[in-house]
Symmetry: C2
Subunit: 322 residues, 2 copies
């Protein structure tokens, strides 16, 4: 794990430097929004994955940093639009942009960051890169659409839940790896290996995120505890819980969540019960299986420092507590 | 002009057919929004320009239709987001999407249509196409940003006005032509010729639009008469008017527009005065000069039916009354 941390330490300044430069060039109205979302504490996991993926296939050029940063721009853009859709209060521990800068500025900043990411991607002269970026944007929006639809018609259905988290989170992490692979090599096999690594890691990433929502108090994740339950999102810890209730009780709870009639007392009871029964831990176990899958995907790659660090990055997903 | 109309009649069903098919494939939550904005009466001027540009350089393949339609998808995406920003009531003569379907659905539909346009563009395997699309999205957002900033700090400044209309309208029309050129040819000279044709035509297009806002009653343009004045947009007819007032009067009117304190009576007076002094017509004269410039840009192209129709399309911009 120390290798991974050293890698982050070495690469983060170059990513942050590029993001800083690019946001400095933006128009006044959106510059503040872009800086607010991009300079808030973030793990930069997507750009790091792009760099590692490219380097693991022998790509040594310095021009990887703008491309890697494009993934962070794209991620930030989706955060901005999602926060408006979810009407979130907090993002990365700070007040959500639309509440600081206004909805208009936030929609536009999202559009500008999306365009900037596409513009950077197109500069590499490989249409495959533009194609991966566009697919990722589409999948992310699709995931958000499914999630919103699911909030208005919640069901206890693991397949629906998986579709949602693959769309809203895993596809962009997959794309981060695919893009690193595609700039380094024209091999579809290697791109798929790294892409599937990213997909499985991304699923695990969201599973851990959903577990954390039932585990951590405000300030730790930067999101309120039990926020998903409050927003009516049916995530895996809650699905485990609902599956343990008898049919009538489950139906009642689901309808209270749907209709936003859940009392504070009952919400606390659900949160406490999920904690007491270790359903967050059970969710992390499910994540661990995806991490094993992810690491197996790297078999077709020759051994390298970066392949080793990619595996460490996958393991890191499981240990994070915020 | 009959050649142009015949061309529209011949090509529109193929564009509309493709748009219909693509929107049918979208998720439920955004499908309605996409159909609402895409199937409302529209001129499809952007796809037609892409087709004409490609054909004028000898490109005869049938695969031009998805690419041409991508420009309409992109345009529709910007309309959806802009209507939220402007809090518009009407679009293309029908109720604006966010008022019918909700803001969440409309933001997401915009994101999906943008992604779809990029996805289609990337499929042609030419990174130049992705690059032009991304630049156009960026410029359009920039134009909107400048316009919003200008509404909160309005000035009587033709250069600022030109920057705004180039960004929010002309760049996407330029892109429509550039993309047609770039799929047909690798010549930068020919792409620039068609691109500059589009840019100048796009400027004229917006000038005529801004003139129409002071000329037509509701129902004709699908927008309320004097809507720009109401929304605090300082367009060319109003700039002409403000330039004719003495300094103090102009300042007072500008501050009333800025602070939304313009009385209905005074607004009617301004509208009447702009009409009586023919400032809409004067704006159209300015548009006519850009149309001449646009047509001159086509000189490097060999003569063809399509080059002739492109010139007719430019002239058509001047004559439209809605």
């Amino acid at each position: 794990m120390t290798e991974l941390l050293a890698y982050f330490k070495q690469e983060l300044p170059k990513i942050n430097g590029f993001l800083d430069e690019e946001t400095d060039k933006l128009e006044g109205l959106v510059k503040g929004v872009a800086k607010h979302v991009l300079l808030a504490p973030g793990k930069r996991i997507r750009p790091i994955l792009t760099i590692l993926s490219a380097r693991s296939l022998g790509y040594s050029k310095e021009d990887i940093y703008p491309l890697a940063s494009a993934l962070e721009l794209l991620h930030a853009a989706t955060l901005l639009h999602d926060d408006i859709l979810d009407d979130a209060d907090l993002r990365r521990g700070v007040t959500a942009s639309h509440l600081v800068f206004g909805t208009t500025e936030t929609i536009l900043a999202g559009d500008v960051l999306l365009a900037l990411a596409n513009l950077i991607g197109a500069d590499y002269g490989k249409s495959r890169i533009s194609s991966i970026l566009a697919s990722a944007i589409m999948s992310t929006a699709d995931g958000e659409i499914r999630e919103i639809a699911h909030i208005s018609e919640p069901k206890v259905d693991r397949a629906v839940y998986m579709d949602i988290i693959i769309g809203k989170t895993a596809r962009l992490i997959e794309a981060s790896c695919r893009i690193g692979a595609s700039v380094a090599s024209d091999s579809a096999e290697l791109e798929d290996a790294l892409g599937n690594f990213g997909l499985n890691m991304g699923i695990a990433f969201q599973l851990v995120d959903d577990a954390l929502d039932y585990e951590s108090p405000v300030g730790d994740t930067g999101k309120p505890e039990g926020g998903d339950l409050k927003e009516g999102k049916i995530t895996l810890p809650l699905i485990f819980y609902l599956e343990m209730l008898d049919g009538k009780e489950a139906e009642l709870l689901l309808s209270e969540i749907k209709n936003r009639t859940l009392t504070d007392a009952k919400r606390d009871e659900v949160l406490e019960s999920i904690r007491a029964q270790g359903l967050g831990t059970k969710t992390r176990e499910s994540a661990a299986a995806y991490i094993e899958k992810a690491k197996d995907c790297l078999t077709p790659l020759s051994d390298s420092v970066e392949r080793r660090i990619l595996k460490q990055a996958a393991d890191f997903v499981l240990t994070r507590s915020k």
